[in-house]
Subunit: 293 residues, 4 copies
């Protein structure tokens, strides 16, 4: 990772920061045989339709490698948040049909699934490995908590906090849904169940997931993202080539049978970046209220 | 609805359009007794925290009335889409624990639930009315289809089509989740099940929900939004007032026990607006490619 | 002026403010005879080319009436600035060939030219009235001072303070140039003349006009805007109609022979709006530095 | 110049392009003695005030080196414009008190001043060299023409074509003013002189500089930018250091006594970038009007 601008003698200067990571293990020749084919689940078809000139090596811009830049930027954002006592933590909640039964944030970095439950993680991993050996892949669920965020973040109409956070997460390749607090579970709930009542000590529950009317409540912001099964699988699939001819395709290469472990830090990065963006807006408001600050 | 600018002799002039709707049935006095209380599930608490000066009448800016402007703008967007043969259709897919068993777009405007299945709609309505009489409310699920959208809409990194669409939908009060295509169902799917294979006739399935790599495929864009139960209920709830004192609250007024029927056109409006935004970007690209067009 | 949203019991709520002014003295019939003609100096031709459907009454969106909204928004901005002790003052510096010889801000609202020198104002007015009687018009120069703005406003690359301020002023119809500090006078200056030296008491001169490297210095931001002669004149001019036929045109109506007096408050409004925008950004930065503030 | 993304086999892919230029001749030690001093005319003072942590080597982000990125991006924009037959040409119009008497675009790259008049260029150069030897510098004037731009570029309110173009040019370090067409000359003109009349063949003059109401007319867009004298001079100047103590400073190093020759391509780049931005917007509009294109 090269830090090319915006830092001087170990401190940020306030001006734009440029970080760059070179892919030092590119194997472009690995993609020669798929340069004419649209891999199912990949963006080959849409890039061809949109741009008419496609870098087929490693999926070009649509590669998950693109998220490295988000993680790098997120690392800066997390430092800013840490200075305010705010923590962002994501983990695999479910994969290959196995869900965490307990949530222990201390074990996330101690298992290859980045799950929050060691026992569940072991079974997830066993299944994921077995699927990989069979040339298949699996989806999963990532949960993320933003803790100690102050109340008041988010704008009243379009730029609601969860709207911006949702956009950030949905801008990641492979994410097919996002939900906050009780999420889709709210569909079958009653108002008397879903509403978070309040007592002297604050909110008694957090079905809302940390926002009301698009603005943070001061409770933990809690959201989940649905991660689709890895598109690259060695199972034969039907597709067409650039000339519209039907073909069978087997996607080989270095692919994980479950994206969750790699996406956990990416989801954290996006949550950190959106949080900092909104903290910057909030600060602005406060300064005008109290110029002496 | 008053049309104040941007239209001349029945045609748009290309310059900004201003439409205005006056609330001619405001009853501000109905809110006097809750001006000191934070209604559970409402934005009263967060607006107080963020702004320190809150218009408690009718929820102020956080009111669902705000969506009238979105529907008005969406009506213009839908006219533009219609000129291109693109259709946006939303409907209640589930409410009060009852889901549509068939999808018949022709019945949506023929039942008060705006559901896509008349038989299911009748049972939904029965349950919703019963819940309202008991002073409670229920959540629901809205599904939306954008049909005949061309391939190629959406930008490769942050402004993916579903990221912008997701933001648009999550910017609506009461929406707690959004999912595309197979959505959260992908969590427990295998890659060999989820990948949409292709044949000469195009995509054989549409688990992706109409996008790959954030760019539209030309298939129907399909998404669902989770609608929380109406926050205003007549069931007594615990809350606090501005001075932090514990209180019991009963929220009376003109509240629907299920938000779905009112939100169906709002979800359509947001889908139409985001589609037009991205069509404008696509057109730009084409013009530079072919200046004679 | 109607205040439709964002204010409650005399105080802003923090949510969007909508103000509306109805044109209660529109005379659309006055424009009937020019509906097919492109008035020289007006946007009739470019609106026709761009949009193909033109509201010819009162110049449509290209009318100077559009600036009323800017002045209304600027009034809010000026209140915010006043709370920080910041003042924005514009005045006519030159018109009809007569320039102010002294600058006395207290006389600006005491003469119809809004000039900063009463003696000059009298001669300006005499000449402007004479030109109007002859069916002609004149250009002029507006100068504006933003005083007591803190150091540190403006971003390092594209959003330099004078770039945003320049854009704001150049977005006004009729402005053909903008310059800061010594402005175009710098062209023939030496570095040893133009550089503002510093002593213990701060900057010894202000040729820079209150910014260095695009960021405010804490000195007065000083700029001037060139105002073109009113386009509507009763002197016969050559033009063409929608069918390309050559015509002679005389533009009658309620036109001022010099735009400066009306544009002084508009220039002030734009300067206030840009200043508030940048103060909001600055505040954001400060909050992250000192979250206790 | 390294091209790191967005190009594949010699053609753009439509996705973001990253170009990078390494400064291979940095001499950071040359700045050691000024690390505590605020150089007159430089951004040292404002960066210190805004950020509190300043990279004093080579002026950090405020260095003219930053414009290399603009020229690189501008080169891409110029290729796009060339495909549409649009040309952007800037040149030194005046420097060291000498102005071009004729405009010959073919000689610009044939003289070190990048002036449009060879005879004037020789005298400019002689004076500039002499000023450099005396440890002083001079300002200058750059003129730019955007030729064959179609009518219809620019938005009706804030994003007028000259507002965006003005912002682009004023975002360059060292530019203190910008004017369009007759520019500040309009101040003393009559409406009957300034208005561009029209005949069958189009506009008879171009005092407007290629826009009316903020939208391009199809005539040449003509603007001029005031370039301040180089701030770094070897003439002793008064300043203060970080502790507020008065000092005398002599700025040595590799400084040009006139910035114009280096800024001519930068002004061209900004004009090309703004033109492409607005062409992208225009294309969007056309596509919706005629989806078959």
């Amino acid at each position: 990772m090269h830090l090319l601008s915006g830092v001087f003698e170990g401190k940020t200067t306030g001006t734009p920061i440029l970080m760059i990571l070179y892919n030092e293990d590119a194997r472009p020749e690995a993609y020669d045989e798929i340069k004419d084919l649209f891999r199912p689940g990949h963006a080959d078809f849409t890039y061809e339709k949109k741009y008419g000139n496609r870098d087929y090596r490693g999926s070009g811009r649509a590669s998950g490698r693109e998220t490295a830049g988000r993680v790098a930027a997120g690392a800066v954002a997390k430092k800013m948040l840490a200075g305010l006592g705010i923590e962002v933590t994501a983990y695999t909640l479910r994969a290959a049909g196995i869900g965490c039964e307990t949530i222990d944030l201390s074990v996330i970095e101690k298992n290859p699934m980045r799950a929050a439950d060691l026992a569940a993680a072991a079974e997830m991993e066993r299944r994921v490995v077995a699927l990989g050996k069979k040339g298949d892949s699996t989806g999963g669920l990532i949960e993320c908590r933003i803790q100690w965020l102050p109340a008041g973040l988010g704008e009243p109409v379009f730029d609601k906090f969860e709207a911006d956070l949702g956009k950030g997460v949905l801008s990641l390749g492979g994410i097919k849904g996002v939900e906050f607090g009780a999420g889709f579970g709210c569909v079958d709930m009653l108002g008397s169940e879903h509403n978070d009542n309040m007592g002297k000590e604050g909110f008694l529950t957090n079905n809302a997931g940390g926002t009301l009317g698009g603005i943070t409540t001061g409770e933990t912001v809690l959201f989940r993202a649905a991660v689709k099964p890895t598109s690259s699988i060695e199972t034969p699939q039907r597709t067409i080539n650039l000339r519209g001819e039907e073909k069978t395709i087997v996607t080989e290469g270095r692919h994980d049978p479950c994206l969750c472990p790699r996406m956990v830090p990416v989801v954290e990065a996006m949550a950190a970046l959106v949080s900092v963006d909104h903290l910057l807006r909030l600060g602005a408001m406060r300064y005008l209220t109290d110029p002496e600050s």
